[in-house]
């Protein structure tokens, strides 16, 4: 079933629920062996998640309340790590830098992805080719992407000169300059991910029935009006999904900063994940690092809920 076959469906596909399915928590009327089998089927996953997800997750909160340098047992210190964090200029710098990266990446990239998807949302010769090229960076390993861009960003003789030399800008110390380093990372992020989100948007666009557009055209609506009144509203669920996923990924971005700039220069690209890594694995301040991670989780959760609130509410 190719993407084209999704045309004609109204709205994005909705998964079918079993009609008989009204199972309550611990409800009755279920045959013994069905229950046993079902439980057996999910048991490995449940045990796994309990051990490698739930337990670590709860432990993170516990560790954040301790001071532990891996020598001897953790020492309970209450909220001291959090208090210290709120006074720590490194923490606030990392928070700022992370916000800069996250929004600096998403704000240009997502509209671009949507635009590209809209361009591709039609019968077009060579569509598979365009899609193939635009999506390609997403399948490359992040470390390799960093290596490639390091060469692009070489101050003397890097590929970037193709675009900046006409403006007289040469010898830009991309990765060594406090003002250029973050834009450099953002550009890499856009390059790698714009095709990825384009594909998701495209799938969503293809789920919108052309009859909507035809009706609108008959009514004399302009392209822009069609976009605002039909595309955007019907795309809301996808947009919500993309917003949440892209923000979560950008917020946790580690590889690019670690391999391209190491957080520098002067911590200009020291995003929060790097700060956690450094505190945990270079300084061995396990409790402190866990506290940073917990704060990241809370912020991420809050942002996600906000996005659900704003994007999910039907107009």
């Amino acid at each position: 079933m190719s993407l084209d076959d999704r045309r004609g469906a109204v709205g994005p596909p909705v998964p079918m629920e079993r009609p008989l399915s009204a199972v309550r928590l611990f409800g009755g009327g279920v045959s013994g062996h069905e229950a046993r089998t079902g439980l057996l089927l999910v048991m490995p996953a449940v045990i796994f998640f309990a051990a490698f997800m739930l337990y670590p997750f709860l432990s993170a909160f516990w560790y954040s309340l301790t001071s532990w340098d891996l020598v001897g047992p953790p020492r309970f210190v209450g909220l001291r790590n959090y208090v210290r964090l709120l006074q720590d200029e490194d923490f606030w710098n990392a928070a700022r830098v992370t916000a800069y990266y996250t929004f600096g990446l998403l704000v240009p990239m997502l509209p671009l992805s949507l635009l590209l998807a809209m361009l591709l949302d039609r019968r077009l010769r060579g569509r598979a080719f365009y899609q193939g090229v635009l999506f390609a960076p997403a399948v490359l390993a992040a470390v390799v992407v960093s290596m490639i861009w390091r060469v692009v960003y070489m101050p003397q003789g890097g590929l970037y000169l193709l675009f900046t030399a006409p403006f007289g800008l040469t010898n830009i110390p991309w990765l060594n300059d406090v003002h250029w380093a973050m834009p450099a990372l953002i550009i890499v992020g856009i390059w790698k991910n714009v095709g990825y989100y384009m594909v998701i948007f495209l799938a969503g666009l293809q789920g919108i029935s052309p009859t909507f557009y035809e009706a609108a055209r008959v009514d004399g609506a302009s392209t822009w009006q069609q976009f605002r009144r039909i595309t955007l509203p019907l795309l809301r669920p996808i947009m919500l999904f993309v917003a949440v996923v892209s923000m979560t990924k950008a917020f946790q971005g580690f590889t690019a900063a670690y391999t391209l700039t190491g957080g520098g220069p002067a911590d200009a690209t020291k995003v929060l994940p790097l700060l956690v890594y450094e505190n945990a694995f270079s300084f061995n301040k396990m409790g402190y690092a866990s506290a940073i991670a917990v704060i990241m989780f809370v912020v991420l959760l809050a942002l996600t809920l906000i996005q659900f609130r704003t994007l999910k509410s039907e107009g």
Binding site: M1, P15, S21, L25, F26, V30, E34, A35, T37, G38, L39, V42, P44, A45, F52, M53, Y55, P56, F57, Y63, L116, G132, V133, L134, A136, A138, V139, L140, A141, V143, M147, I148, W149, R150, V151, V152, M154, Q156, G157, L159, W191, V194, G195, I200, A203, V242, T255, Y258, T259, L272, V276, A280, M286, A289, A293, V294, M296, F297, L300, L301
Partner: protein, 277 residues
């Protein structure tokens, strides 16, 4: 009417063409750099293809500097084990959650979906400590087991299995097939595309991951390719750009080849993941 369409068609091709070119440029640059010697990178004009192509020498240098095959094999083992494991256990769990009723089912499903929201950064330290206690530092077990089952895999498969009509399952049962047979001989074959999608997604995720191997491995012989390349970038003794680009070429060659032939599946895996949400 046709006139307008023609223009907009050209404009669209132009935009898409420019975008594709911009995306492709760094990759072309990578190939070009891999053909040069390390002096040529700075001395020659940018786009000049050297008279003597150094690709072979650069590739040889890569193998001299790092145990490339060892790193590659490690990544392959880890990604394969995790992908196969995830497919297997997510299939079991997805099937159980989709087609069986049992106490706590909703709780378990909600819980599993909720773990999708846990950012990795929160659990990396505790997971590291667990792995250390188990003695799995610097082992394949340490690299693979904590990622063996993914919540989005279970979610995807559960959604997919929900749409398998109950009558097919019921009639198979009447014919005497027991549960696992129903699962593997009927339900799974009906859902091969989504399984392939999940496999591709998982494989790419594991192939690309850096932070965990960085934290969990120590010795050279356990390093994954991502980690090996990251270290190579920072090497102040040996690596120079053509060598780095040759290494990059080697690293992406298999992925690019697969992508060229299976592009549809790669793209579909991302698209279907997005739509199931």
């Amino acid at each position: 009417m046709r006139q307008r369409q023609f223009w907009s068609g050209t404009l669209i091709h132009l935009c898409l063409g420019v975008a594709s070119l911009l995306i492709a440029l760094p990759l072309l640059w990578m190939v070009l750099t891999a053909l040069k010697t390390h002096q040529q990178v700075f001395t020659e004009p940018m786009w000049r293809i050297p008279a003597e192509i150094q690709l072979g020498a650069n590739i040889a240098q890569v193998f001299k500097l790092i145990p490339f095959w060892r790193y590659f094999t490690n990544s392959l083992i880890v990604a394969t084990v995790v992908t196969v494991g995830d497919l297997f256990f997510s299939t079991l769990a997805g099937f159980g959650l989709a087609k069986y009723r049992f106490p706590g089912r909703n709780l378990i499903f909600s819980g599993i979906v909720a773990t999708m929201m846990i950012p990795f950064i929160v659990i990396i330290i505790p997971q590291y400590i667990i792995v250390r206690r188990l003695g799995w530092i610097d082992t394949y077990a340490g690299l693979t087991v904590p990622f063996l089952i993914s919540s989005f895999g279970i979610f995807m498969l559960r959604q997919a299995f929900l749409s398998v009509p109950d009558d097919i399952i019921a009639s198979a049962r009447i014919d005497g097939a027991h549960d696992l047979r129903v699962l593997f001989q009927i339900v799974v074959p009906l859902n091969v595309p989504i399984l392939v999608s999940l496999a591709i997604l998982r494989f790419l995720m594991e192939w690309d991951t850096l932070m965990w191997p960085l934290v969990v491995t120590n010795s050279t012989r356990m390093r994954t390719l991502s980690l090996g390349l990251a270290i190579m970038q920072n090497d102040r003794y040996g690596a120079d750009f053509p060598t780095l680009m040759a290494a990059a070429l080697l690293a992406i060659a298999p992925v690019v080849l697969l992508y060229a032939f299976l592009q549809r599946y790669f793209i579909k895996s991302v698209a279907s993941f997005g739509l199931k949400e």
